[in-house]
């Protein structure tokens, strides 16, 4: 092989290596994709009280001696309260649907919309969420965090957990 041929091959090899380094191997230096925080940023064990207020009815769950009771001290059935907290601890907003909605009612967010409040000891609010309608495909729920304008979409598993919560209430009227 001639010197020119060898040089050509070395050149091709160098180009291939450069491509591999730049295109495939080199660590990406761009900013890491920020992980969207879960709706509930504290462990479920830090939660002392949950209020679900909807259509003039309020469901209350208060942690007492490691168990969940209502405002009258009656126990909640099953694990629905714990399941809801576990879900809130893993559920992040999927997307911002509307940063500044002209008509929040388009998303089922109205003055009497269901509101979920999660509190730590001494009434410190950990989460306050207005819960709107399901999206057309029923894959998620429209919602809004307290004090914010933007409408977010959260997974419909929250709808399932809230249904379980309603079914597990000590009695129908728990206000």
């Amino acid at each position: 092989m001639t010197v020119r041929g060898t040089a050509l091959l070395v050149g091709i090899l160098a180009a291939l290596l450069a491509y591999l380094w730049l295109g495939e191997i080199r660590p990406r230096s761009g900013p890491a994709r920020a992980k969207v925080p879960a709706l509930l940023a504290v462990p479920p064990t830090d939660v002392a009280r949950i209020d679900l207020e909807e259509h003039g009815r309020r469901l209350v769950a208060i942690r007492r001696d490691g168990k969940w009771v209502d405002a009258q001290g009656r126990p909640w059935r099953g694990d629905a309260v714990g399941d809801l907290l576990d879900t809130l601890g893993t559920l992040s907003p999927i997307m911002v649907v509307d940063p500044d909605p002209a008509e929040p009612s388009d998303y089922g967010l109205e003055p009497d919309t269901p509101r979920l409040r999660v509190m730590a000891a001494k009434g410190k609010e950990l989460l306050s969420l207005e819960i709107g309608e399901r999206n057309p495909a029923w894959t998620g729920l429209y919602a809004r965090l307290a004090g914010q304008r933007e409408v977010i979409l959260v997974g419909a598993v929250l709808h399932w957990e809230l249904e379980k919560l309603r079914d597990a209430a000590p009695e129908a009227e728990n206000s």
């Binding site: 997974g155 598993v157 399932w160 079914d167």
Partner: protein
């Protein structure tokens, strides 16, 4: 203002619903009836919510047939129920894994047949896991079999893809014929599946071995004819779409994994419309000393019948629904490679089949419902089997579906050569 019209519409709908309720009596319990958009209220407590929505829109309707509870119970042979009764008090669960444990030895039992937990107490914190074990053993009585079936991808304009494939399975546990003498690999069961059509997937095949222990993953090998190589794949691939269709390996029987893969939780009870080919058993015809053939009718879907009503993927013929009491159970995998998040399943409280499942992805979005249909096989009181013959997998996120199963002939094999379930079979499939 949008509130007032919405309220008005809501009130009107409520009034109409109430008025229409007065117009016809409650559905009969002793005669067939049809649940459809016009009387959707009658299905409110009989269907999962996303399915009810399709019913209201007219996409689906349900031919409901009456079923005698005792007769339905007798779809499983007396031998099965006797063995189930004899299991009372024999088994418990490994706390950490939900694995089945023999109370006498504290270990994985050597051989189990019949439901391991004849009675399930809904207040038992381990009820969900016990239900899952009963489900496993309700479906494993035949000991083995196979069928050639189709997978059909269907969207709003009709069928867009059709795959023909076969599956052959052999079980070591749960066999009504009794324990096999040799089980050198300590398996719960094994299976081979391969694609036959169309040409671009012909020869794709897989071998699965499920180990009879509490913590092993399934060993799955996938063979690609173009590369002539069989490679080991992760068991979590059960949650990946099959050939890009809206159907998953985990849809077989509505749950296709090892019991230990999920954390199970019983969250409720109810009554559901259960899809079956018919509420009574089919006969099996012996074709050689160990093999029996079962003929079943084909279930045509909307896309196969020009001018039919409803969703193109909805079954139009030879499928009926029976009202069955169910356990409502949540299942969730902790495997980070498993694509499903919370899965909600409706298990028959007596026959332990899953009829419906709702699937959320790991972000908590609901996206998928599977309806799982069955048929029963029984000739006498010493042997019976139940087989999955239909999956209607509906991806509500993209409004697309897939149908799986719908075979017209299947077989029960009571004496498989275990050597058939090998890598050699896999690699020589397309020779």
């Amino acid at each position: 203002m949008k509130t007032a019209p919405r309220l008005g519409v809501g009130l009107l709908a409520t009034l109409l619903a109430g008025a229409s309720r007065l117009a016809w009596p409650a559905p009969p319990t002793d005669q067939p009836w049809t649940l459809e958009a016009g009387n959707w209220q009658d299905g409110k407590d009989l269907l999962p919510e996303p399915v009810l929505k399709h019913l209201q829109k007219g996409d689906y309707w349900f031919k409901v047939v009456p079923v005698d509870a005792k007769k339905f119970h007798d779809n499983y042979a007396k031998k099965f129920w006797d063995l189930t009764a004899a299991n009372e008090g024999k088994y418990e669960l490994d706390e950490a894994t939900c694995g089945l444990k023999d109370k006498a030895t504290g270990k994985n039992p050597e051989f189990v047949v019949g439901l391991p937990f004849p009675k399930v107490d809904p207040n038992d914190p381990q009820a969900g896991c016990k239900i899952a074990w009963n489900f496993t053993f309700a479906g494993s009585g035949a000991g083995g079999g196979g069928a050639t079936f189709t997978l059909n991808g269907v969207d709003s304009s009709g069928e867009f893809r059709r795959i023909k494939a076969f599956v052959h399975t052999m079980g070591y546990q749960g066999r009504l014929d009794g324990k096999l003498k040799d089980n050198p690999e300590k398996l719960e069961g094994q299976g081979v599946t391969a694609a036959l059509e169309p040409q671009d997937v012909e020869g794709f095949s897989a071998l699965t071995k499920r180990y009879w222990d509490w913590d092993s993953q399934d060993a799955i090998w996938a063979y690609v004819p173009q590369t002539r190589r069989a490679r080991r794949v992760n068991a979590a691939t059960r949650s990946e779409p099959v050939q890009g269709l809206d159907i998953f390996a985990d849809d077989l029987n509505c749950y296709g994994g090892k019991v230990e893969y999920y954390k199970w939780k019983l969250v409720g009870q109810g009554t559901i419309l259960a899809p079956v080919l018919k509420p009574t058993p089919f006969q099996m015809r012996q074709v050689n000393p160990s093999r029996y053939v079962v003929e079943t009718p084909y279930m045509k879907a909307g896309y196969e019948l020009p001018g039919s009503r409803g969703a193109p993927w909805w079954i139009q013929e030879n499928l009926v629904f029976v009202q069955r009491p169910v356990w409502i159970v949540e299942g969730q995998s902790s495997d980070p490679y498993y694509n499903f998040g919370k899965v909600i399943m409706y298990f028959d409280r007596e026959m332990y089949r899953i009829y419906w499942k709702l699937v959320h992805n790991r972000a908590g979005e609901y996206f998928y419902t599977a309806a799982c249909g069955y048929h029963f096989v029984k000739n006498d009181e010493t042997f019976s089997a139940v087989f999955p013959n239909l999956v209607i997998g509906v991806n509500d996120k993209i409004n697309r579906a897939a149908l799986g199963g719908r075979y017209q002939s299947s077989f029960i094999e009571r004496n498989w050569d275990p050597g058939y379930f090998s890598l050699r079979t896999l690699t020589h499939m397309s020779d």
